[in-house]
Symmetry: C2
Subunit: 250 residues, 2 copies
């Protein structure tokens, strides 16, 4: 059983708008003595993708709507942040006390539309999720292909979930690999169909990568090596987002 290895990529430069993400990651991995290899899955924390893509907003420039202002004042939140959360969302899923769970324009359901005020490079700034995380992944994948590397790319973020405390990292963007491993139609030696019909490999990979990235260690990229993945040049996280008609908890 060869197994997997998972390791972080330390030594990335500070990422700002326009940073060549693929080039920086490729160089940092090489400098760390663990160059990227074809077959790797590269997992990138969404925040640095957002920063590279200029998805950082100065809160003082945000025109706050009356609804956002009223809610923010009631619960002692930053009005501009609430405004941004609403703008980044297509639907409020739950709004209970200070908790605001929305469906982002991508279709992800999470607190505060994934907007992050911490580590945004200074006070008064907020980092929004990438506009199109699948496309962001594909840009990194394509840039690495140009260096002769066939690497699958996942962008991860840290989301809460119903029923369980604490959060986990899951995938919000993907390129190059099928996000799901399907067992549909396969049967066990006794002829029963498997109870498990499809596993979200992309989410498990994102969570595994978090174990080495951590949130304090300032290592925003990790490599999962040794996991065979199913190539898919048209992969998208949209196939993971459950239709609201099929969702019992929306």
């Amino acid at each position: 059983m060869p197994g997997l290895s998972i390791f972080g990529i330390p030594g990335l430069p500070e990422i700002t708008a326009g940073t060549d993400l693929a080039g920086s990651i490729h160089a940092a991995a090489a400098a760390a003595g663990t160059p990227l290899e074809s077959g790797d899955i590269l997992v990138i924390t969404s925040k640095i993708v957002s920063k590279a893509e200029g998805r950082v907003v100065e809160l003082s420039t945000v025109d706050v709507s009356p609804f956002a202002r009223q809610y923010a004042e009631k619960w002692e939140k930053e009005p501009a942040v609430i405004e941004l959360v609403l703008r980044e969302s297509r639907r409020v899923v739950r709004q209970v006390g200070p908790i605001l769970i929305t469906e982002t324009r991508h279709g992800f359901i999470c607190a505060n539309a994934g907007i992050d005020q911490s580590s945004s490079g200074g006070h008064g700034l907020a980092v929004l999720l990438p506009v199109d995380p699948d496309a962001s992944c594909m840009r990194v994948r394509t840039a690495l292909q140009a260096k002769g590397l066939d690497v699958a790319v996942i962008i991860s973020d840290t989301f809460g979930r119903p029923w369980r405390e604490a959060q986990t990292d899951i995938a919000i963007g993907i390129a190059g690999m099928q996000p799901v491993t399907s067992y549909i139609g396969q049967v066990d030696p006794h002829g029963h169909e498997f109870r498990v019909q499809a596993l979200c490999t992309a989410d498990e990979v994102a969570g595994a990568a978090e174990l080495v990235k951590g949130n304090l260690s300032r290592v925003p990229c990790a490599v999962v090596r040794g996991l065979p993945w199913e190539a898919d040049e048209t992969a998208t996280m949209q196939s993971i987002i459950r239709d609201s008609e099929r969702d019992l908890f929306r």
Copy 2:
């Protein structure tokens, strides 16, 4: 960055009621050339724990209640399985068409109370979740301690989740390690509190282990090596189960 390695433990014998789980896993890992080491996290698929603990029910022996029979017939389900699902549950969370989501007696929210008919060793049998997965983990941990090994133990199962298609492996039992890594009170270099306050390391480890176990490969145990964990002899998954008062989606 040393990183993690994750590998499966192949070659386990067929597990039946009374099998010495810790002894079998210890021996199989050694025979595979990857003996367990202190500091490892051992992840065990719940099904083999259930089998070792005799949590296998012959469906023909189950006395089916009228409610279970009526529902099973309407949706072409096995009546005895529906009866077992209800008996293993303390509350039905959603019952929509053929889908039955319940809160198990442990407090886990999942489809069909985690009952598995596949790979149960023959037709007409169902495998129930372990009665007390934390205690099951502690028994394995204690048996390994007797062999001089300090190994954290997680029992995993494959659950669905709202909003996203496909399933992931999560933890349903733990021994020896804190299931959560907390960042509460820590601040970034700019003085902001982290948006992420607590990560469910146990769930991320369970998902990572699934990547090497798979559902078809018949490798029901995996080792996560190289991840520092916070020792906690009183750890329990109960700290992960969100109070219903704090849960917006129950």
